[in-house]
């Protein structure tokens, strides 16, 4: 039972990160119907920015953890958003109205580019971050097995909940959110009604990138090591999460992320850790075959 609880907590932590990345996929897919293949690299850039920022703060002597965390959050979110915006502006916007697969191929090119860009600039070796937040709660002491909830895990879960609340407000109750929902329903009609479509799409990429940056910071804090290749696998898994929850639906993306994180944690905990990626990919294939619109998505109607 305690072992189960431990896997549940690990799974939720992992799932929170997947969910935050998945929201970026889901929003972009909802509005312009493309898979932003480079989104995983945006998350990777967020992780690198956070490690650079933590190191810089260490050099500058700012070591009070809450302040450092806040600064890193703001800087990494802002800078990663700039990357998200630039990617959309350079690689996707000129392709609107091109043939069906063009944006996807362009996104794959962008993903390869960003991966090698970071590798060339920051080096190919693994980047470690000395633990910033140490310690945690331990339950079930006295028995054989104990459950550990580290402070990092608590921060990740709290931060995710806070972001989700803020985000739901943004989508549901602001002019920007209304414009996004309008674009999701019908891009052309929204444009005719006076919504600035280009700006809305840009801001969607910015928001997705900011959330991916938070996931990047969490990964840096949680694992303590990153490299330039983490974006690929995280990206594919987050996409799986988005599909599982129903692509285009934001609560669905979060739900899918949590489910996928738990599946992965339980799979590694009870079966084999080597095949945990196979489990994630198999879920993707099974969901696409048997439940193409996901758990919370609306079925897609193909029109001539």
């Amino acid at each position: 039972m305690l072992y189960f609880l431990q896997q549940l907590i690990n799974g939720l932590t992992l799932g929170a990160m997947y969910g935050l990345i998945a929201i970026g996929y889901s929003m972009v897919y909802g509005i312009i119907g493309m898979i932003n293949f480079a989104h995983g690299e945006i998350y990777m850039i967020g992780a690198f920015l956070s490690i650079i920022c933590f190191t810089l703060l260490g050099i500058l002597g700012i070591t009070w953890v809450p302040l450092a965390l806040l600064i890193v959050l703001l800087v990494a979110m802002a800078c990663t958003s700039a990357y998200g915006w630039t990617v959309e502006r350079l690689a996707y916007r000129p392709l609107r109205g091109s043939f069906r697969l063009a944006p996807l191929i362009s996104a794959i090119g962008m993903s390869i580019f960003l991966q090698n860009y970071v590798q060339l600039l920051q080096g190919a070796n693994v980047k470690p971050l000395p633990p910033v937040i140490i310690g945690g709660f331990v339950f079930g002491a006295g028995g054989g097995f104990t459950v550990t909830v580290s402070y990092v895990q608590i921060i990740i879960l709290l931060l995710t909940v806070a972001l989700m609340v803020a985000f739901s407000y943004l989508i549901g109750h602001t002019p920007l959110g209304r414009a996004q929902r309008a674009c999701q329903q019908d891009l052309t009609m929204a444009g005719l009604c006076g919504v600035n479509v280009d700006r809305t799409i840009s801001l969607t990429f910015v928001m997705g990138a900011a959330l991916a940056a938070v996931a990047g910071i969490m990964a840096t804090l949680y694992y303590g090591v990153i490299d330039f290749f983490i974006g690929f696998l995280a990206g594919v898994k987050a996409f799986t999460a988005a599909v599982l929850g129903g692509i285009g639906s934001i609560p669905g993306a979060m739900l899918g992320g949590l489910l996928l994180g738990m599946v992965e944690a339980f799979w590694s905990g009870y079966f084999s850790i080597e095949y945990k990626d196979v489990a994630a990919f198999s879920i993707l294939i099974l969901v696409l075959i048997f439940l193409p619109s996901g758990l919370l998505g609306r079925p897609e109607v193909e029109k001539v």
Binding site: I51, C79, L101, G109, N116, V236
Partner: protein, 438 residues
């Protein structure tokens, strides 16, 4: 056309709007500063007792200045001569038309050159080796071209079939002592079977979903190869894979008792170059067979159905074409050629491990198809030549290779989305001459 000329004259007379241009350039430079300052300007390094930073603000300054200048150039070009920005690639667009009448001769010349290449004076072992690598990618490109170019299905896991071919050859040859020529069809059949197994459930999906699923499939195959120790020997890979023989004649200095080696049979002195040359001709013939197959099948109804499906699936369904079966044949055939190329790869290397079958390899083959022009056979050859040969020119270049691939894929999609050499004419005209557009 008239509108563009009119626009040009009016814009040229007004000249550059300096404040607006400056504002635009400054905005671009500011974004560049935000992008470059942390990632370019600071590099994390390991120092005594933890992590440190290596500052490179000079690079940031150069980068920002370059963005500023580039943006200004763009604005100036746009104002002075509207239309030039988009027309930069126009000369490239004319290349196919330029060579159009001579394509036949060029292709025949190319094939003849490929056949005599190993006997030319400069063709040492290194040159033949590189040429063999180029041909492997040409063959993979042609195989993937069936799936991506003709049928319009984006396959990001093509390397999985390459891996299946390589491992089936290696396992069959090692465990059952079958020869290369016995294994080749089996490896192709296994790969095609995997294509059908994967394709059957997922080919109903929309194009971009299919891309991600194939990518996932490629990774699944790689992870299985990595962890199934009993069969694949895990990350250590399979070694001592039998090399091919020339109709039973081995390429060894001292053959087994009672058997003749290649050089003895033909009365030549032994040279290790013989095997390299033989492998070169082997892949050349395999590639040409692939090409002949594709060129022939393009004239059959099945290929017409692929191309029609690529253009409009709903219309095809209305015309009674079964989309799943049609796509499945394309998928299986593409996989089969991937399997052939894979078994050649295994016999050439003599050693295979999951390292050789990563996503990057899939991306490379896809880049060859995309850059060459989806559906163009000659384009694939040129793209494979460029992508394989360029890194050979220097270590510095090899470092930037993937970076440039990525950038090139984006730029090709923006400027010439059908690929550099693609020219898509309808393969059949209703009224052959009269209906051709002027």
């Amino acid at each position: 056309m008239a509108g563009r000329v009119l626009g040009a004259t009016t814009a040229a007379t007004t000249g550059i709007d300096w404040p607006a241009a400056l504002k635009e350039c400054l905005a671009a430079a500011l974004v560049a500063l935000v992008l470059f300052l942390p990632l370019v300007g600071m590099r994390t390094v390991r120092v005594e007792g933890g992590a440190g930073l290596d500052f490179r603000f000079g690079w940031v300054a150069i980068g920002v200045a370059a963005v500023f200048a580039g943006r200004f150039l763009l604005v100036a070009l746009r104002t002075v001569r509207p239309g030039t920005v988009g027309a930069v690639t126009a000369p490239i667009a004319r290349i196919p038309a330029l060579f159009g009448p001579y394509t036949q001769f060029l292709v025949i010349g190319g094939v003849v050159f490929a056949f005599v290449l190993p006997f030319l004076p400069f063709a040492n072992r290194y040159v033949v080796d590189i040429a063999t690598t180029v041909l492997i990618y040409v063959m993979l490109g042609w195989g993937l071209n069936i799936v991506v170019g003709l049928a319009g299905l984006l396959d990001l896991g093509y390397v999985a079939f390459y891996a299946v071919g390589a491992y089936s050859y290696a396992l069959l040859a090692i465990n059952f002592d079958l020869s290369f020529w016995e294994c080749l069809p089996l490896a192709g059949a296994f790969a095609a079977f995997m294509g059908v197994v994967l394709g059957f459930p997922v080919l109903r999906l929309r194009g971009d979903y299919l891309a991600i699923v194939t990518l996932g499939f490629g990774e699944i195959i790689r992870i299985i190869l990595l962890n199934w120790y009993d069969v694949t020997n895990g990350p250590n890979g399979l070694s001592a894979i039998p090399r091919p023989s020339f109709f039973g004649l081995e390429f060894t200095r001292s053959p087994d008792e009672g058997e003749a080696a290649f050089h003895e049979f033909f009365g030549l002195s032994y040279s290790s170059l013989h095997r390299v040359q033989f492998l070169y001709f082997l892949i050349l013939i395999l590639a040409l067979v692939t090409n002949a197959f594709v060129l022939r099948i393009r004239k059959l109804p099945i290929s017409r159905a692929w191309e029609a499906l690529r253009e409009d699936e709903i219309a095809c369904r209305a015309l009674g074409i079964n989309p799943t079966n049609t796509k499945l044949t394309a998928f299986a055939l593409g996989a089969m050629f991937g399997g052939f190329a894979g078994s050649f790869f295994a016999t050439r290397q003599g050693f295979i491990s999951p390292e050789s079958f990563t996503f990057i390899e899939s991306a490379l083959v896809l880049a060859i198809v995309v850059l060459g022009g989806m559906g163009s056979q000659v384009g694939v050859v040129l793209a494979a030549l460029v992508l394989v040969l360029l890194p050979e020119f220097g270590r510095e270049f090899a470092q930037f290779r993937m970076l440039l691939f990525g950038a090139a894929m984006v730029m090709i999609m923006i400027w010439r989305p059908r690929g550099l050499l693609a020219h898509r004419e309808p393969t059949i005209h209703l009224h052959p001459v009269a209906a051709a557009p002027p």
